[in-house]
């Protein structure tokens, strides 16, 4: 698609901006969310958690370093649309193998550039995440029709994308160096950096399809169960919640990230809710309530676990507590069980993109599996 072609983005409340298209052409729909990371667009686009969404990048120049074979976080790019202020015309990086525009086109992702992304972000911040449509080859003359089309597109609340993103074939990431533990990772939209971080620590990771049964999981004799990140409303993840409850009953060590945190929360009887506009960025301050230390963390979540009455609470599986909170808005960012080895965080310790401050959580998971064995 020629980048000079006009394109228009339209929100469900009628807000619209005209820009220029890039990447694939066509009409794209999804939940509009903004990401504030200044680096890491390739990781963002290949993060399955963005499935069903249109990502607005707040950093103005995108595509400067092109794309490379190493930084992808999954087998493809997932958002339905991509909104940037300026797409780079050239690629400047020694690892680059192609341009972002070509890669988006190859993945069928509709892009729009040349729009006031800050204005759009402020709009989404004030009014909340909502549906957006991007329409190639249009300047929005038929705006009313476009608005209607956006309003006809599916909503995020109650949506499930797990079957779309989960791996078709189970696979194993072997432990680097001496093998110290085995875990089964339920792929709800896993990023490749996650098993990589575990493998670095001597954990053999069996990445399995989201619909794998508990019996099949047990047959792999895991030292621990891992629940990945992923897209959609956690309330729909009934199967995963049941698996977590099984693991808790058997006191198998468990670690969850992002979607996994919400699933653990629900398994423990907590509620989840859709946030106004969520957390998406790589600069979020999270406080570990045990140590009082602050980590700078990568976030990508539009749902969250509703905080219980008190930090510590009782569950069917023993005492639990809120272990981490986001200092910006006090949102629950981590849960741990006090009577067994299960814990989860709402953010991304695998950090791709993002800072590596929370690496230690993988060490903690290894320790917990070790203590169980």
């Amino acid at each position: 698609m020629k980048s000079a072609d006009p394109s228009v983005l339209v929100l469900e409340d009628g807000y619209s901006l005209v820009g220029k298209g890039f990447g694939a052409s066509g009409n794209a729909f999804g939940e509009a969310v903004f990401s504030t990371g200044m680096t890491g667009y390739q990781e963002t686009l290949t993060d399955p958690s963005y499935c069903g969404q249109i990502v607005v990048m707040t950093a103005p120049h995108i595509g400067n370093t092109g794309v490379n074979p190493e930084d992808g976080e999954s087998r493809r790019m997932w958002p339905s649309g991509f909104v940037v202020r300026e797409l780079s015309r050239v690629v400047s990086n020694w690892r680059a193998s192609g341009t972002l525009a070509d890669e988006l086109e190859a993945n069928g992702i509709v892009g729009i550039q040349g729009v006031d992304t800050r204005a759009l972000t402020r709009h989404l911040r004030d009014r909340g995440a909502m549906r957006m449509g991007i329409f190639s080859h249009s300047t929005g003359e038929n705006l009313m029709e476009l608005i209607a089309a956006v309003n006809d597109s599916p909503v995020m609340l109650g949506a499930s994308f797990t079957d779309e993103v989960t791996t078709a074939e189970n696979y194993v990431i072997t432990a680097r160096g001496e093998k110290r533990a085995t875990c089964v990772a339920l792929d709800l939209g896993i990023k490749s950096m996650t098993p990589h971080r575990m493998s670095q620590r001597g954990i053999e990771v069996h990445v399995v399809n989201a619909n794998t049964t508990w019996e099949e999981i047990l047959a792999l004799k895991p030292g621990g169960v891992f629940l990945s990140n992923g897209p959609g409303d956690p309330a729909t993840a009934v199967g995963a919640i049941a698996i977590v409850q099984k693991a808790l009953e058997m006191k198998i060590p468990l670690f969850g990230i992002c979607f996994g945190n919400q699933i653990l929360g629900r398994a423990l009887g907590l509620e989840t809710y859709k946030m106004q506009y969520g957390h998406r960025g790589i600069n979020q301050p999270v406080k570990d309530l045990t140590t009082g230390k602050v980590e700078i963390t990568a976030h990508n979540h539009g749902f969250a676990v509703r905080a219980p009455e008190s930090l510590e609470f009782n569950t069917a599986y023993g005492r639990a507590r809120i272990s981490h909170i986001c200092l910006n808005d006090n949102v629950v960012e981590g849960i741990e069980l006090l009577d067994q080895n299960a814990f989860s965080v709402q953010y991304h310790p695998e950090a791709a993109a993002g800072p590596h401050d929370s690496d230690y959580l993988f060490d903690r998971f290894l320790e917990k599996m070790g203590s169980h064995a």
């Binding site: 103005p60 006031d116 800050r118 950090a351």
Partner: protein, 1094 residues
């Protein structure tokens, strides 16, 4: 656990005078620190020798010592004040070095003072190159291969291993002083020699060359709980090899993937931990090989740095303020982010805009200086701009420098034949390289060709190509339609640039733009890319779809700042602007600041009610005015406080119907126009030296012949004496005019009789239309002819009687009334043969406003702002902003004597003549304050020059004939005080006849004697001379004494070039020998003054 309660008082050390590499960013950081500490209820004791700083205003500390930053004086302050703690990390390398010295001398221990914000061992680990290399290695990162040298032999050995080119870096110097790149042995001997000299530990490091690599900086902060955040990443557009202070830089980093950026972050965090910066900020520099990504750690500064100030302004995250809170025990998560007012400071700012910083150089002031950019910083100031993309931020920053040559142009002919020469020229990094690259690209050179010549990243070059392509479109398009115009504006094109391309005028483009509705919007710097709503009114313009800044309904006053620091226009003007903002906010106005200098206090979002970070051009300023005028009442714009930059905008703003408050543009013009001003003088009955206005060489020659040589020549409308020279003969006049016509073709040349041997007097005064307040009368220590900015001066004047001051007051009143001043006026008088001549009158704030305010204890910039807003001197006296009675011309009993001394950058520009003349060359100033002139002068010398005045040893004397008579007495006194006197033959002869035992030394041109007798220059180079008295005749680098003065600069020997300066120095030396040094805070000085006893 929040604040420590065992710290009740903290001593803060400032950074002293503005020098290259250490400018007003440390006033910004120090002021923030003082503010925070006082908010926390801590007694603040401040030491800084620089009177032009906001931090040394009496309300920013409990005890403010304007004293030299030396171990001796700092100990006196510590002994007197007994602070609990010392915070040394906010005053640049000067403060850090001072703290190390205090520690080494056992003074901190002796008085039980705790160092906070840094500990000596951490500073050592960060700054000692050997220790730092070990740390880098231990954390698994890489340093450039290198070799530590303490002798020249070490250096020669090292280079056999590393090969040429090598980078030479002395330890413990700031702004890269003494460092450079050696391409061969000759270079090595020269640079390493200077480096060993410059390093306080006589240590230099040779490093493998990584010239041309990508260069990055990270600003980090750490708290006592080991929480670390990266505040900002900065990428240098100019790759490795150019000092970061001289590089065009951009924030955030734009050409790194997340993996590469996170690697920088990980290494940075490991370093701040391993070095052990317990609380506070640090800056780490990295190089990345663009071919394979190899990462090298260059260096760290374990303190708040110039880059921290830039990072604070770039992100809205106030590093210094937070560093001060961390130092007294808070953790990052206990500190609130001012901007969102709901999120904590323990996060990492994210930007949704691009910030570009462009350095400003002053090579035109130093003919003969090497303009090649190296690892030694040479720029004197910088401008920063914010835009929604790189081209916009870059073009805004380039026009913010106010240097025409920095702005992109597309001048025909478009001849590709020029390319090879341009490429050859841009291989040498220098101040004009980016415009060469832009032109070459426009002429058809490829991105790859320019990249090969400059190593500038292809991404940045492509952005410049975008600008060039747009320029072609603007030129070639038949009509200027809204979409094209909008696109051009969003790439940062100014109306002036577009007008140039369309062959029309700026006004026409502005009209078209307004008709088509192509107008800028205003956005907010919020640290969080709009994730949270911002409470802090820090704004920038852009061409985008939404404006988010709503003008208030209040009565508002806009203050125009002074733009990038340059020689002749620096921190002193920012000082006045800040005062105006403070006092007018207090008076109930909404104050709005427009400025583009990231180093300043005025661009702190805490200073005014609103801050617009914008270039100070007519277009950019009008955009803010238009936006702010849409609601509320714009009472007016203040143009007279920020120096020449806003003053130059007075006329066009007034023509556009903007209310200017204070002195009106007509009055400003009246003072600048010689012929009109002459009529004012005639009416005021004040004589000016004979003069004329010439529009050609013939006219100039005729005038000079009529009034007699020497004459002072200059273009009209200048600041800092730009282009001003004393001309002694017709040949020089011819030379001058050939140069001057290039400087400014549109304005005539002024020719004045130069008054030899006059006493020059500088006056600052306030006038409200009726009453005059004579704020200060300063007597220059150098004779007339040395630019007032470079001349030492004393207040109160030491040789003027009451009758003379009364004459000055009357003349000032008459001129102020004649010109029509409302606010400040600065007048330079010359007193010769009992006639008081006027040399110049400037109806604006002068460079001396802060000095006068400190010396007299009266906030005259505040008073000026209030007069501009309609108050009277009488009403200001009534509310106590001005003294109830009296003025600065008749100081009350008990008033101290204050001396201002200029600080010169010659050490940075080897091979440049150090003689002073009518063109200003100093970068900064210090003040010495005491009860007598001798002591005050001696203090000013200690503060301005390392070592200050000597109290014993050998003085070398070489005098111009006209000075010999006047110099005999002071030299006799020197001899009586025990100095050995060495003199050139003619001078020695006269001294001996006057009973002074002077020994003869060979002149330089005579060469070393047959028996190895040294010349004066040899003696200086051998370290045998402690004081040089060399009064030259005429100007020009080849004149007598040039080599003497150059040697003096290189060896750091005090060099006095005027007879008046000699007399002052001898008084100072006398007091150093005979008086006990003592310190007194300005608050104590103020209490000692009997205001009612006039």
């Amino acid at each position: 656990m929040p604040k420590r309660d065992d710290i009740k008082s903290v001593m803060v050390i400032g950074s002293g005078p503005i020098v290259i590499g250490q400018a007003c960013e440390f006033d910004y950081s120090g002021t923030q620190a003082c503010r925070v500490l006082r908010e926390e209820g801590i007694r603040v004791i401040l030491v800084n020798s620089n009177p032009a700083t906001i931090m040394t205003d009496p309300e920013f500390a409990d005890a403010t010592y304007i004293e030299p930053i030396t171990t001796q004086y700092l100990e006196l302050v510590i002994a007197k004040e007994r602070p609990d703690a010392l915070l040394p990390t906010l005053g640049g390398q000067t403060a850090l070095n001072a703290a190390i010295q205090l520690d080494k001398a056992g003074i901190l221990k002796k008085y039980n003072v705790e160092l906070i914000g840094a500990d000596i061992e951490a500073i050592e680990r960060g700054e000692n190159r050997e220790k730092f290399r070990k740390i880098v290695q231990e954390i698994g990162a890489e340093s450039a291969r290198s070799h530590i040298c303490h002798t020249m032999q070490d250096a020669l050995d090292g280079v056999t291993e590393l090969g040429y080119p090598v980078v030479v870096r002395p330890s413990f110097t700031m702004g890269g002083a003494g460092s450079g790149i050696a391409y061969n042995e000759e270079d090595l001997l020269r640079i390493a020699g200077l480096g060993l000299e410059a390093s306080p530990t006589s240590e230099v490091l040779l490093e493998e060359s990584i010239i041309g690599w990508k260069e990055y900086e990270l600003e980090l902060m750490r708290d006592k709980n080991d929480n670390v955040v990266v505040v900002c990443s900065i990428e240098n557009v100019d790759p490795m090899g150019v000092h970061t202070g001289d590089s065009i830089t951009v924030a955030p980093a734009l050409t790194l993937t997340d993996r590469e950026f996170q690697k920088l972050r990980d290494v940075g965090i490991d370093i701040i931990r391993a070095v052990g910066v317990e609380t506070g900020g640090c800056n780490i520099q990295f190089a990345i090989n663009p071919d394979d990504g190899r990462l090298i750690v260059i260096e760290m500064n374990p303190r708040v740095s110039r880059s921290s100030a830039l990072a604070s302004k770039a992100t809205g995250f106030p590093i210094a303020k937070i560093a001060a809170r961390l130092a007294i025990g808070y953790s990052l998560d206990e500190i609130q982010n001012d901007i969102t007012a709901e999120t904590p400071a323990s996060f990492e700012p994210t930007l949704d805009y691009i910030v570009v910083k462009v350095p400003r150089f002053a090579f035109e002031k130093f003919p003969g200086a090497d303009t090649t950019l190296t690892t030694t910083m040479k720029s004197v100031g910088e401008a920063m701009a914010i835009g929604r993309n790189f081209p916009e931020a870059l073009q805004k920053a380039l026009r913010s420098t106010e240097q025409k040559s920095a702005i992109f142009t597309w001048l025909e002919p478009r001849d590709a034949g020029e390319i090879p020469a341009l490429i050859e020229e841009m291989k040498r990094p220098h101040d004009g390289r980016l415009t060469l690259a832009q032109r070459a690209l426009w002429l058809g050179a490829t991105n790859a060709q320019i990249h090969e010549a400059t190593n500038i990243d292809p991404w940045f070059l492509d952005q410049i190509e975008r600008i060039n392509e747009m320029a072609d479109q603007i030129r070639e398009s038949r009509d200027l339609l809204a979409p094209l115009l909008f696109e051009a504006k969003s790439l940062g094109f100014s109306d002036l640039q577009i007008a140039g391309l369309r062959g029309t005028g700026e006004t026409r483009i502005r009209e078209i733009r307004k008709q088509l509705g192509v107008l800028p919007v205003f956005k907010t710097v919020d640290t969080c890319a709009a994730e949270f709503s911002a409470k802090t009114p820090y704004h920038y313009s852009s061409y985008d779809s939404e404006t988010e800044v709503v003008p208030s309904e209040r009565r508002k006053i806009i203050i125009l700042g002074s733009g990038p620091n340059r020689i002749g226009q620096g921190i002193e003007f920012d000082y006045s602007c800040v005062h105006a903002a403070m006092t007018l906010s207090e008076a109930g106005f909404e104050t709005i600041m427009i400025n583009c200098n990231p180093e300043t206090v005025s661009t702190d979002y805490d200073t005014s009610d609103r801050l617009y970070f914008e270039p100070l051009t007519f277009e950019d300023v009008m955009a803010v005015i238009d936006a702010e005028s849409s609601a509320g009442e714009l009472v007016g714009v203040i143009v007279q406080l920020g120096g020449q930059t806003p003053l130059g905008l007075a006329r066009p703003l007034a023509d556009a119907g903007v209310p200017i408050i204070g002195t009106q543009p007509e009055a400003i013009h009246l003072a600048e126009d010689r012929e009109m001003f002459s009529r004012v003088l005639t009416e005021a009955k004040v004589p000016a030296p004979a003069h004329g206005t010439a529009r050609s060489f013939e006219q100039a020659r005729e005038i000079a012949n009529r009034i007699g040589y020497p004459v002072l020549v200059r273009p009209s409308y200048v600041l800092g004496g730009r282009g001003m020279e004393i001309v002694y003969e017709e040949e020089m006049l011819k030379d001058y005019l050939e140069k001057a016509t290039q400087i400014n073709p549109e304005h005539p040349i002024l020719v004045d009789r130069f008054l030899d041997d006059a006493v020059e007097i500088d006056v600052d005064a306030l006038f409200d239309g009726t009453d005059l307040y004579l704020a200060g009368v300063m007597e220059h220590i150098e004779e007339a002819g040395v630019h007032s900015g470079d001349s030492a001066c004393v207040l109160p004047p030491i040789t003027l009687g009451r009758e003379e001051i009364d004459r000055i007051r009357k003349s000032t009143h008459a001129i102020a009334a004649g010109v029509g001043v409302r606010g400040l006026i600065n007048i330079q008088f010359a007193l010769a043969s009992d006639v008081l001549y006027i040399l110049e009158a400037n109806p604006r704030a002068s460079r001396t406003v802060p000095f006068v305010s400190k010396a007299t204890g009266v906030p005259i910039a505040k008073a000026a702002a209030r007069i501009m807003a309609g108050e009277t001197i009488a009403s200001l006296r009534a509310i106590g902003l001005l003294p109830k009675v009296g003025d600065g011309g008749q100081l009350p009993p008990g008033s101290p004597v204050s001396v201002k001394e200029a600080v010169l950058p010659f050490g940075r520009f080897h091979g440049v003549d150090t003689v002073l003349g009518p063109e200003m060359k100093s970068t900064g100033e210090v003040m010495g304050i005491d009860s007598s002139f001798g002591v005050a002068f001696a203090k000013s010398q200690v503060a301005a020059f390392s070592g200050g005045l000597p109290t014993r040893g050998t003085a070398f004397v070489s005098l111009a004939n006209r000075d010999k008579r006047a110099a005999i007495f002071p030299i006799k006194r020197l001899s009586d005080l025990g100095f050995d006197i060495l003199a050139t033959e003619g001078t020695a002869d006269i001294l001996q006849r006057n009973g002074i035992p002077a020994r003869v030394i060979r002149k330089q041109f005579e060469g070393t004697g047959a028996q190895g007798q040294p010349t004066s220059v040899d003696a200086i180079n051998n370290g045998e001379i402690d004081l040089i008295i060399n009064t030259p005749y005429g100007v020009g680098p080849r004149k007598d004494g040039y080599e003497i003065r150059t040697a003096a600069v290189l060896r750091g020997v005090p060099c006095i070039t005027t007879v008046q300066g000699l007399a002052a120095a001898v008084q100072g030396i006398d007091s150093l020998i005979h008086d006990q040094p003592a310190v007194k805070s300005i608050q104590e000085h103020a209490r000692g003054v009997n205001r009612d006893g006039v």
